[in-house]
Amino acid sequence: MKNSELVSTGLPVIDIQNLDYYFGSGYLKKQILFNINLKINAGEIVIMTGPSGSGKTTLLTLVGGLRSVQSGSLKVLGKDLSKASLKQLTQSRISNGYIFQSHGLHGSLTAVQNVRMGLEVHPRIPASEMMLRSRQILEAVGLGDRVNYYPDNLSGGQKQRVAIARALVSDPKIVLADEPTAALDKQSGRDVVELMQKLAKEHNSTILLVTHDHRILDIADRIIYMEDGHLSAGR
């Protein structure tokens, strides 16, 4: 299903209903998420904010297929992840782009090789096309002259831009980002989110972004607020 189809049918890209989540078991069992209901439409940029420990990241990892759903329903791109096997969960991750607080770049790979890893996971893209697209997106994030640099030789902002390029190179339908600006100074943080916003609009991607950083809230189409595992609309 393409994004445009989702828009036309009015189906949300992410559809969460009555989702609960627990950590631990037995006496140590602790509820993290309480009755979460959330719909995100194609092309939307949603920022989730709230104090630390409130369950934002847990929700993000559930949407990303990094954790298994325990109770409730979670549909991503029309697929019900609450019924997915571990193998299907791994498969579902391919259609997402991830941006982490720490860039997660591979130190033994150059910038362009790192970006290429974002394409290699998709089957049947020819090698030449992978290289071309990786170079193009590095140009787009302003690192056209740094393609063969190793992460150690890039600044924090540059590394995060490579990570964004890696997340977006495969035109993912959903981009999941966790505190992408936490390790950056004000200006590079601003640059990074504006870049995300621009590229997401171009590729018609949906963004779910978790942040504490109030300086970047203005790029959101919608802000949601998480507190103690309960979700509410933004203040």
Partner: protein, 393 residues
Amino acid sequence: MRGLIEEIQRRTPLGWLQLSHHRGRLLVAISGIAFADVLMFMQLGFQNALYDSNTRLNRAMIGDIVLISPQSKNMQNMSTFSRRRLLQAEDVPGVKSAKAMYVGLVAWKNPQTQRKTSVQALGFSPEQSLLNVPAIKNQLDTIKLPDYFLFDRGARGEYKQMFAKIDQGKIISTEIEKRTIHVGGLFKLGASFGADGILVSSDENFLRIFPRRQAGSVNLGLISVESGYEISQVAAALKSRLGKNEDVKILTFPEYIKFEEAYWKKESPIGFIFSLGVAMGFVVGVIIVYQVLSTDVNSHLKEYATFKAMGYNNMYLLGVIFEEAIILATLGFVPGFIIPMGLYQMAKNATNLPIYMTLSRAIFVLTLTLIMCMISGAIATGKLQSADPADMF
């Protein structure tokens, strides 16, 4: 096939990039594997040299069928049987000749250092050489002289000056059992694990240095078969004729070589010791490669977790580890193959043992190296489980 090539082109050679990015670590890994390979090559080389050197004398014997005493264990531990059996053997159709050879270990005084060392003495009727060594065939006249012997140029020990003197035509005299003997010439056969060198002479000279031995008790019977007769049939005929006496064992020439080899392989602890040495080299290799691979996995856990979050499955990461294992095995094998060649040469010069590289051994060690790296890789993959993508956020 084309699909496969495309897949390979598509795939980032992550294992190689990881290894080559950390040059120091790679170098340590390669030297570790090379060390294990050198250990294995040396052990196998010595083991093979043992078998080769201990059958070298047996292989030099001239004969189609060999008679020995059933009590004989190996060349250095020969019992005797009655010379009458040889005369009886000559009556069997197809037997051209049956010659006696006397074998014994004796302590002689090294003419150069004046120290006593143990050498192997052989004696046979000097009408005709029973050893397929040209230098002996040419010097049969020398050993017809009383107390004249020929000595092994390949003997282990300090003989250089003595060899030089003999090469100048001089005759060297020394002592065996308080009897003066003369070394009138040299031949080349080589030392074995059992004996440092070989003395060859006539049966009469042999019996002079072994005063307690009798001419009627021989150690080896070498039988030549007349042309036109099947060796196996003549051997069968000999068995039916002599076998009932149970004091003599009849072996074809290849069986005789196997008999000697089997002793060193099974009865002596040396074969076991060298196999144990190979096993230790192997274990050392497994430990070194495991250390390198697990350090590598540990230092890349975060990156691997990221790849998992991106949708790469466990199989992909296992593939990376095994790619590294194969690369390490191959790179480590190169110095691990070259260094032993030099060491073989050194060991050959020092011990006069026939140590040399063989293709089959190289393939065997390469296979062991690959298995070694695979086992280490398999153990190291256990660490992958701790790369949890949910921890990345």
